[in-house]
């Protein structure tokens, strides 16, 4: 029986695990920063949002909603809608982190992004006892956090210098396409996506991008109705 991996090794392991994902996030941080400035956020606020919200796709959506003049409450509801998937990660990790103090749980929850969750999946799936593996999640979460903050600051500084003719805001749309296409795994998801898209286009004249929330709700309902696992 070998001794459990010490905290420092777990932490460094987490940094290594997240490194490729963190590198991949650099262009998105840059693009976010550029779009946030173009949307009219002050540089200070644009940078602060990366630390306050710390969620890439939600931050891209924020830039779109602010550009459209969406009221604050709707922005908050839209961010919640798009970040709801993090509740799944939270549910998955809950038992494995149950022994930690509230402070530890809060820090790890703040750092719980798509990337950190993906990077630590393998470590948390290992059945061998590992009392310090929350340090692994801390390393992955903190590594991504630092890279994300640095790249969005760089994007904000670049923001004003990119001409409008480059249509860079379209990069936000393309990011969503790149994330959503691989989600197409079965017919129910396809129907959910098609329904949401149709409703969003049909309702595009609704003020303040309200169509997004209506369309997401319609898509989720359609998907549930067709779920191959049936309604329980």
């Amino acid at each position: 029986m070998s001794a459990p991996t010490p905290p420092r090794s777990e932490f460094v392991g987490g940094l290594y695990a997240v490194a490729p994902l963190a590198l991949g996030s650099i262009p998105f941080g840059l693009i976010y920063g550029v779009l946030a400035v173009k949307a009219g956020l002050s540089p200070e606020l644009a940078i602060a949002v990366s630390a306050i919200v710390f969620a890439g796709s939600a931050q891209f959506m924020i830039t779109q909603l602010v550009t459209a003049g969406t009221p604050g409450l709707l922005i908050v509801v839209s961010v919640m809608t798009i970040n709801l998937r993090h509740a799944l990660y939270s549910a998955d990790l809950a038992r494995k982190l149950a022994h930690l103090s509230p402070a530890w749980k809060s820090i790890l929850a703040y750092l719980l992004t798509d990337e950190a969750y993906a990077a630590t999946l393998a470590r948390f799936a290992d059945p061998a006892p590992a009392p310090h593996r929350h340090w692994h999640l801390l390393g992955a979460g903190l590594g991504l956090w630092l890279v994300w903050q640095a790249s969005s600051v760089a994007g904000v500084l670049l923001g004003g210098r990119i001409p409008a003719g480059w249509s860079l805001e379209f990069a936000g749309t393309l990011t969503f396409i790149a994330i959503v296409v691989p989600l197409l795994r079965d017919r129910a998801i396809l129907v959910a996506m098609a329904t949401a898209g149709l409703v969003a286009v049909a309702a595009h004249a609704f003020p303040y991008k309200l169509a997004v929330i209506a369309a997401a709700a319609a898509g989720i309902a359609a998907g549930l109705a067709l779920d191959p696992r049936g309604v329980r």
Partner: protein, 105 residues
């Protein structure tokens, strides 16, 4: 409401979502119904964001336009490669090429 307050609220709610099950560890499990609904959330929400960007110009439906073509190219690349950066690169290049050649003008 100032945008700072809005962003703080969005951040707090994101944190609450992430803390949800971790913070109440062991006392609640995600109900199967809730987990099934969550599965559709990212697909539906992102699709709702993408389509109007591809087919609506200045509040009017417009199918013959470079963004729809560039978006479909990007979707094809995303399907084949599963690579986010390659998808963005191919989509932007198609858009710029069509704008430069003035394909839809």
């Amino acid at each position: 409401m100032s945008l700072w307050v809005v962003m703080l609220a969005a951040g707090v709610m994101t944190f609450v979502i992430r803390l949800s099950f971790i913070g109440t560890a062991g006392r609640f499990d995600a109900s199967p119904w809730f987990a099934r609904a969550l599965r559709f959330v990212p697909a539906a929400a992102l699709s709702a964001l993408v389509w109007p960007d591809l087919v609506v110009i200045d509040g009017a439906l417009a199918l013959a336009q470079p963004r729809l073509v560039a978006g479909l190219v990007a979707a094809g690349v995303a399907w084949r490669s599963r690579n986010i950066l390659l998808t963005i690169g191919c989509g932007m290049l198609s858009l710029w090429l069509m704008q430069w050649l003035q394909v839809f003008m």
